[in-house]
Symmetry: C2
Subunit: 114 residues, 2 copies
C-alpha cells in the first residue's frame, strides 16, 4: 500500500490483512502502521498493488481511506484479525473507497482501467 | 515502486528490472512506465518495497530519482535489458540515489532504519 505525505513524499509497505469489504470498498487492518497512518491522516489517497493468483495479473487499486478506531467496521476488523492471528492488537480499520482499478502488468492491457 | 504526483496522489506498480548499481544507487529500467514517469518528472521522490530472499525480510528503500534517456547509464540499462529480454525497448534508465532503508516487516526491527 502506497501513501504520500501532504508534500508528496511516497511511502510503500506490505499489508497482510487486506480484503474486499463490499463492491466499492477494501478493508485493511492497521496492526503496525506508523508512517502510512501519519500520511493517511493528512492525505487520504492510497494506491495498492495486488497480484491476482486467479488471473495471474497485477492490478493497481486507487482510492480514498477513512480510518475507524471504533464502531462496527473497527469491531469487524478486530474480530477478523483475532480469528486469524490472536496475538495481534489491531489499532484501526482502514476502509478504502475504491475510485479506480488499473491493470499494471506488461501486456496488451497495461494501464487499462477496469 | 511508489511515486507521487506533486499534489500527493500516490502511484505504485511492480518493477522487473531493478538492481543495485553501486553502494548508493539503484538502477531501474523504464520499459513501460507511464504514470510513474509523469510523477518522477514533477516529483523525484520514490519509495520501493523489496523482499530479500536471503534475509526473509521486507525492506523499504527511499530515494530520489534521476531519469537518463541517453549517455552511459542509459546505455548500460539498454544492454542489460537486451541481454535478458531482447524483445523489450527500454525508454529510460531511472537511477535512484538511496537516502534511507527501513525494515518494513512485523517484528522487533519494524521501522528500524539501517
Amino acid at each position: 500500500m502506497a501513501t504520500a505525505s501532504k508534500d508528496g513524499l511516497p511511502n510503500v509497505v506490505p499489508m497482510t490483512f487486506v480484503k474486499v469489504y463490499d463492491d466499492e470498498h477494501l478493508l485493511i487492518v492497521d496492526n503496525f502502521m506508523e508512517k502510512s497512518k501519519d500520511n493517511l491522516i493528512n492525505n487520504p489517497y492510497v494506491a495498492i498493488c495486488v497480484w491476482s493468483m486467479e488471473d495471474k495479473q497485477a492490478y493497481q487499486i486507487k482510492g480514498k481511506a477513512a480510518i475507524h478506531t471504533s464502531g462496527q467496521i473497527f469491531d469487524e476488523a478486530v474480530a477478523w484479525v483475532k480469528r486469524e492471528m490472536p496475538v495481534l492488537q489491531p489499532k484501526s480499520a482502514v476502509l478504502i473507497e475504491i475510485t479506480n482499478i488499473y491493470v499494471c502488468q506488461p501486456g496488451d492491457n497495461l494501464g487499462k482501467e477496469l
